[in-house]
Symmetry: C2
Subunit: 364 residues, 2 copies
């Protein structure tokens, strides 16, 4: 019997790529620049060559259920797990791990975000198969660690035990420290030391191991899920689930478990990886195809003059984009929003997406 | 019998407000900023209170016939005169004056562009009624002259005979000189002298007078219209018209007649007037409603920060426009084009609208 399982986390409704991503169409359901497939479709495809689609689960919110069904129809409907509310990753992983554990107590689960970019699918497959094999044979909470290519202050960093030389061997190592979003200077020191990797947010563990660690490190939260043995996969499941989510607090798997457990391991991965979490990282990702002035214009028809380091995105790619004289600007044009601002500006869109202004509700 | 007639010139397909105005939707059929009516609708309404709609004619090209019928349904279909080709204003006025003269040899005609902005409708009416009355009683080619408010280098200037004091009286004066688009310094001298007015492009004359002057000053061109007495308003009209337009050269009424005739008069008008012929003049016109930083944003929802002297237009006025950090820029957003360039830039759109680039044909 195949014990490999996958949980795709697809409940996020982040606004960092607003106005292209929106509450009703968050990033995981958007096309990855010019590939013809969405983030969640790429995520599914990376796994389905070594994990049976019947063993791939998606955890999301009710409002995204139809998007999941449309975009990844090969995932059985009963594998689409719906959270009653957003409670961050710890409750989400508790719920889905319980669901899988009840089906197969020997399950080994790969947990993955649905909105990251990974291009080297062959390396990904080899790394994941190996990490799953490793986790199957011991009580380990394994994080896939990616070789950093720049001192990016927006990522999480993992220091591996054993130092630079151990990391080079490519074998799983115990985690020494986690550091979320250091400043650029510290990130530079991390990278220089050779002991750090980026936290990809991809985890591998046995269902039993993660549930045991939940009970140990988040006993209050996990207590709300009591009674699952009787409720899950019965008509009582919905009531049980609403009670659990209604009661439990918000908590992330990183802070709630990974930074507390003594079972944290890091698996040094060979694949490329990008969390295109904001327009700046989209620029970094897309800049492979830029012109010699550093301009990235994601539209089929464009005339760009006297401009440098421009990031321009039209959701209607047939639109003609004419830009002259913009230096380090971000231009985003969607059906209902046109945003033009300096790339360095990180705040202007929060006026619309975060602040309570009823006038702008419809644009969120 | 009422001898008052009007000819609305609506055949232009200018690209100066591109990409909002296009070959298939030129300026005269676009809404005047926030008024809910198009340029040609405003033009019609200015005249229909003192000229019977049955006496109002529109001269245009076949491709705009349906737009005219939709936008000014009160003009009888038989009053929509279709030119086979664009040949500038002289042939256009010859054709339409002939049509009217054949119906009424005593007709006095007001000729008007269809894409100008005039807001003081009461003054307009009083001036036009008076000018028509004047022209009815002598062989005069009357141009309405508007008091200049700035040394605009994009307009035509008329020097009235009799000097500053004569002009102040508001009575018709013979024309001394015409000057088309002087530079700013010369325009400033003109205005300082008090002897000059702007050429509004609105003319008033008897049908007989303009046809006589055509025969005198543009005999070659007018010769192509020979035979009109037999052809017009008969089944032979189409053949006659195609022959006339096929043969005659391009000529403007200003250079071809007004600058040559000894019957040119100027009527000093009291109404405001703007030929919003390019984005710069649209900015000048719209700037009445601008904020204290000189920003004009024609959209209902807007957030503008750190910007000055911005001109932004969304054809979809429900779109949210967010702009930060633009100084003296023009932003125009339509269904299929997004243009962002310095306001001082006059050339970038010509890449698309004028230069022969088949790739951009569909955006013209």
């Amino acid at each position: 019997m195949d014990n490999r399982y996958c949980i795709i986390l697809a409940g996020g409704s982040g606004s960092r790529l607003w106005p292209v991503s929106k509450v009703n169409l968050p990033k995981q359901f958007l096309e990855v620049a010019d590939t013809g497939k969405t983030f969640i479709q790429h995520t599914f495809e990376r796994f389905c060559s070594f994990i049976d689609p019947g063993h791939i689960f998606v955890v999301t919110l009710p409002r995204y259920k139809n998007l999941v069904r449309e975009q990844v129809p090969d995932i059985p409907e009963e594998n689409i797990l719906l959270e009653p509310y957003s409670r961050n990753t710890a409750p989400c992983i508790a719920f889905s791990a319980i669901k899988i554990y009840k089906k197969n107590p020997d399950a080994v689960i790969a947990v993955t975000p649905s909105d990251h970019i990974i291009q080297d699918v062959a390396a990904f497959r080899a790394n994941l198969v190996s990490a799953i094999d490793f986790a199957a044979h011991q009580d380990a909470l394994v994080t896939l660690g990616v070789s950093p290519t720049r001192p990016d202050p927006n990522y999480g960093y993992i220091q591996a035990a054993g130092g630079r030389d151990a990391l080079k061997k490519g074998e799983p190592l115990k985690v020494k420290t986690f550091t979320e979003k250091p400043n650029v200077e510290i990130a530079r020191v991390f990278i220089g030391s050779g002991e750090f990797v980026w936290n990809s947010g991809i985890f591998v563990w046995k269902a039993k191991t993660i549930l045991d660690e939940m009970a140990k490190h988040l006993p209050m939260l996990f207590g709300w899920f009591d009674g699952w043995e009787e409720a899950v996969d019965t008509p009582a499941e919905q009531d049980w689930l609403r009670r659990a989510y209604g009661g439990c607090e918000r908590a992330s798997i990183d802070f709630g478990i990974m930074e507390k457990t003594d079972k944290a391991w890091v698996y040094p991965a060979d694949f490329d990886w990008a969390d295109v979490g904001a327009w700046e990282s989209m620029y970094n990702y897309a800049s492979k195809g830029l012109d010699d002035q550093g301009n990235v214009v994601l539209s089929h028809h464009k005339i760009v003059e006297d401009s440098k380091n421009l990031m321009a995105v039209c959701t209607d790619k047939e639109k003609l984009v004419i830009i002259k004289g913009l230096d380090n600007y971000l231009v985003v044009d969607t059906d209902d929003v046109l945003m033009i601002c300096p790339r360095s500006d990180k705040d202007i869109h929060r006026l619309v997406s975060d602040v309570a202004m009823p006038e702008y509700e419809k644009f969120r």
